[in-house]
């Protein structure tokens, strides 16, 4: 087990390194000049320009800048924003809280919705319940977040006036954005659950369980779910990673603070260090989530533990 985790950690480090290198070089090679241009638009004299460029390390060749960035990164320093000059780590650290609370509450919505729909689709095959829940799964996969978001705001805050449409705050401010993101993520989970349970229902041990007189529901809940819901762990971890990205739109839509807003502003300003910081954060988070899913999976499923 330790060996397995170690191997995964090494491959994670390699991928993260590759991703950071790729994005650093591409961002600096392609956008470096125009970013500098927009950065120095306001500055007065060449003298001032030169000093600022030196202060940011932009006078060095790209490879030297890259080396410097890696050295900083190994100390946990993500550099400074070109606009405003705050530390990128601090900037992201301040904004990561709202994003995580949105992503985790959206995950709860997605799990409840996805597992519910998936189980109904698989366990009630042939019944209208199954058809309805499969249609709902399809809708959840097809509906764009911006559309559901706008419709939810329109219906629940403008027409009905039940919930606040924008802003930060308590639980009430979280309901709409979390449902919008959760609904769009629930479809994937529902598909996985549906496939998992349908597969279980064809297994010999389920036939045995049914043959000894258990009802379909009881057989599933006593014997089926433990095995059939295993894929959910993987999907949920994946979806959580995607949710951190998916909150980009929702944060804009509901005027919330968070990483998504930071990224969009950075892209608009061509604030390369901040863009890179978000890249680093998401690579690390995503890899750790994947590792977590793998470990949980092995822990839950003795069959995999054997083969390790």
């Amino acid at each position: 087990m330790a060996w397995f985790i170690l191997r995964r950690l090494i491959s994670i480090c390699l991928s993260a390194f590759l991703a950071i290198t790729l994005s650093f070089l591409l961002l600096h090679l392609v956008q470096g000049d125009s970013a500098e241009a927009s950065l120095f638009q306001s500055a007065a004299s060449d003298d001032v320009l030169e000093r600022r460029r030196e202060a940011l390390g932009l006078d060095l060749p790209v490879l030297a800048q890259y080396g410097r960035y890696l050295r900083q990164l190994s100390n946990g320093d993500l550099g400074k924003s070109w606009f405003g000059g705050q530390s990128v780590a601090l900037l992201i650290g301040q904004q990561v809280g709202p994003t995580i609370s949105l992503a985790s509450s959206a995950t709860v919505v997605a799990i409840v919705l996805g597992v519910g729909l998936g189980i109904l689709s698989a366990a009630k095959t042939g019944c209208w319940v199954s058809h309805v829940s499969r249609v709902m799964t399809g809708a959840s996969l097809a509906l764009p977040v911006i559309f559901t978001g706008v419709v939810f705001v329109w219906v629940f805050s403008v027409l009905l006036g039940w919930l606040p449409a924008t802003g930060q705050g308590g639980f009430r401010h979280l309901i709409l954005p979390a449902s919008v993101v959760g609904i769009s993520a629930g479809g994937g989970i529902a598909r996985a659950v549906d496939a998992g349970i349908s597969d279980i229902l064809r297994q010999p041990f389920m036939r045995t369980a049914l043959a000894k007189g258990l009802s379909r529901w009881r057989a599933l809940s006593r014997h089926g779910f433990r095995v059939g819901l295993l894929p959910v762990v993987d999907v949920v971890a994946l979806e959580f990673g995607y949710l951190l990205g998916g909150t980009v739109i929702t944060e804009s839509l509901f005027a919330r603070q968070g990483i998504g807003r930071v990224l969009v502003t950075a892209v608009l300003n061509k604030d390369i260090p901040v863009v890179l910081g978000v890249v680093v954060l998401s690579v690390v988070l995503y890899s750790l989530l994947n590792l977590f899913a793998d470990v949980t999976h092995t822990w839950l499923d003795p069959r995999i533990r054997m083969t390790l």
């Binding site: 790729l22 097809a142 911006i146 995607y242 990205g245 739109i249 608009l268 890899s287």
Partner: protein, 225 residues
Amino acid sequence: MQFAPPTLEHGLGMDQLGRDVLSRVVWGTRSSLFGAALSTFFAVGLGLMLGGAAGVLGGWVEWLLMRCVDVLLSFPGLLLALVAVAILGDGRWPASVAIGLSLTPMYARWIRAMMLSIRETLFVEAVYALGASRWRVLWHHLLPNSMGQIATMSTVVYARALTNGAALDFLGVTGSPSVPSWGRMISEGRAFLGIAPLIAVVPGVLLTISVISVMELGDFWRIRR
């Protein structure tokens, strides 16, 4: 004539600047559908090249390409598109290319998987035995035999390109605000949901209908084959 209600002359009423919403929707349709087509074209072209190269050449080329694809796939699609916009610059064309780029890894992975399955079939072995080169096998046998699947996958890519394109438009990172697009109309119109909901809701409905239609088309092709 701000927020004029729908009339016969102006089918969907007017927006905050007194512009005709229906004609903006029509123009938005053009830029949204065309932008997504461009992204798809780009993703399919590049994905075919990368996935095809990996599938046909095998060996270290395949290993390296697939490693890169794995790394890119570990980003959420929209994040990748945003980073690509940061690299390529904002504007209609760069944004479409950025979305295409962000969808390429997924497509390349599919293509390679498909190539692998066809590569193992007997007829390909027979063609190799007849002395055909790898490129002949690729152009005359692998590609023609996977056209159906390629088309089906492209519909999925197109649907995603539509959604992500609208999302980028919505976020306002795709250049000039004067060119209407569905995403931008939704973004502008959501402030006026109380007075004139049609400005935001109609483009949203059109976007949804387009995405679902494209996905249905893909399903239809898959089932018919």
